[in-house]
């Protein structure tokens, strides 16, 4: 899981994640979406800017002029073109023809921003065939309020769920509503048989 990869410019990583987060936030059902909190609006600002830049790693000045600088530090080792404003071609600098823009792997980065001091949010994503297949965000804020906002931010990642057949899995138990009030079920069958429902 923690396979590190240095091909992607780091800002792109965060951009992609934040873009995803923004999209997810936009379609959330119980999204807090308050503009009054610093960290949330910070995130949105970065997303907008970097989306315009097509996510191609030219994110040097992202978020400047806001209370967060959008600085991203690389947790990868030996990174070649991190955040240097190159049109990074997804890091394929080797001239090889490649069907995919991004190399498969899991990428991690820490994002920093300032709210009365530096705060950090950790982001990790997995890319497979140019598709982000997994995203995780680790709140690292020191300030209690910031931590709360980061947690809210993390909470707003959402994806569609899919079902898997119970028979195909090794489960001890199933938690749900299927075994429910028999009185109720009986009543429903009676009413159904009377065609009143």
């Amino acid at each position: 899981m923690k396979k590190q990869n240095s091909y992607l410019p780091n800002l792109m990583i965060l951009s992609a994640v934040l873009t995803l987060a923004f999209v997810a936030t936009g379609c959330g059902v119980t999204t807090p979406a308050t503009n009054s909190d610093n960290s949330t609006s910070t995130v949105s600002t970065n997303v907008n800017t970097s989306t315009k830049g097509n996510g191609l790693g030219n994110g040097n000045g992202n978020g400047n002029g806001n209370n967060a600088s959008g600085n991203v530090k690389n947790t990868n080792t030996g990174s070649s073109n991190s955040g240097n404003g190159m049109m990074g071609n997804g890091g394929n600098g080797n001239g090889m023809m490649n069907r995919f823009a991004y190399k498969d792997g899991t990428y991690s980065a820490n994002g920093e921003y300032f709210v009365e001091g530096k705060e950090v949010i950790g982001v990790s994503l997995t890319v497979q065939n140019d598709i982000i297949t997994d995203v995780s965000v680790t709140p690292q804020a020191r300030d209690k309020t910031s931590k709360g906002y980061q947690l809210m931010f993390v909470d707003n990642f959402k994806s569609q769920v899919i079902g898997k057949k119970i028979a195909d899995l090794k489960l001890g138990k199933v938690s749900g509503a299927s075994l429910t009030t028999q009185g109720f079920n009986n009543a429903v069958s009676i009413i159904k048989s009377q065609a009143a429902l």
Binding site: V161, I162, K165, S175
Partner: protein
């Protein structure tokens, strides 16, 4: 050692209690009788579906009562959640549910006028052990009653020096294992009961679920928001893991109607919330996996 299992029907659902370790002196038949009696007694005390239950009797007219010790936990929780949720979590939802058709006969026919529940101070004055019933009422403990009886049964097992067991009351579960082995628990897909949408792994914890998927009639489910008098539609299923089943059950119910942030600071729990558009929201440290497309 083969587990010993007790299966029975009570409080309107199927129970399975698996005992995973026991002493050679374990008297199975005797012990299972004790458990069944305890669950039966619980229903006789709390059920609003029984005309002669103890609560129906005492709330049938104004009066003052001293409550038995075991009622403290559930009354405390109801009053605490009532405050926290601004009255959305209330035992006075009983009459609203009855108006909507969720009555002791399960008539499932809504009346033309559905009453909002009164404010709790108008009806009850609670200061354990004293309960003052100011006017005739009916109380509903459906939001966490099942969780509470699961905890009480777990206590009976522990008192009997049984430390590895699993209690499953219709999909609400408490699992304890001295051997530290986690149990994988499927999260039932509310759209298709042959499927799960994820797996939670629990140990010495409870997982409770709440969903209207099986108890639906007309526009209602067994959950009705006392403010809007409607059954919640955005959230279709919730799962909560907590140290006690009463808390897991109460939170699973609440998360259909109340934002999770109301509870996050106050209680230790993990959750999965599934919405009508099939998206999910899970807590940061949820111990398990959700299957995503």
């Amino acid at each position: 050692m083969d587990p010993k299992s007790l299966n029975f029907e009570a409080i309107g659902t199927h129970w399975q209690i698996d005992i995973l370790d026991y002493s050679p002196f374990f008297n199975e038949a005797n012990f299972f009788e004790v458990i069944k009696n305890r669950v039966e007694e619980f229903e006789q005390i709390y059920s609003r579906f029984r005309e002669n239950s103890w609560l129906r009797q005492i709330t049938g007219k104004a009066g003052e009562y001293y409550l038995p010790v075991e009622t403290k936990k559930i009354f405390d929780l109801y009053f605490e959640f009532y405050q926290l949720t601004g009255g959305i979590f209330t035992p006075l939802i009983a009459e609203t549910l009855i108006d909507a058709g969720y009555d002791e006969k399960y008539s499932l026919k809504a009346k033309e006028v559905i009453k909002k529940p009164k404010k709790i101070v108008e009806v009850l004055d609670y200061n354990f052990p004293k309960l003052v019933i100011k006017e005739k009422t009916i109380l509903d403990f459906g939001a966490c009653g099942k969780g509470y009886i699961i905890d009480l049964v777990a206590q009976i097992l522990q008192d009997e020096n049984i430390f590895s067991f699993c209690i499953d009351a219709g999909g609400d579960i408490f699992y304890q294992n001295r051997g530290k082995e986690k149990m994988p628990i499927g999260l039932e897909n509310p759209h298709d009961f042959s499927e799960v949408i994820g797996v939670a792994k629990i140990l010495n914890q409870s997982i409770c679920s709440s969903s209207g998927s099986r108890r639906k009639w007309g526009n209602f489910t067994h959950l009705i928001n006392p403010k809007t008098l409607e059954s919640p539609k955005e959230v279709i299923a919730t799962w909560v893991i907590a140290d006690t089943a009463i808390l897991a059950d109460a939170l699973a119910t609440s998360l259909h109607m109340v934002d999770k942030r109301v509870f996050l600071e106050k209680y230790k729990f993990e959750y999965v919330i599934m919405y009508a558009d099939n998206t999910v929201d899970k807590s940061v440290n949820f111990p398990g996996e959700i299957f995503l497309s």
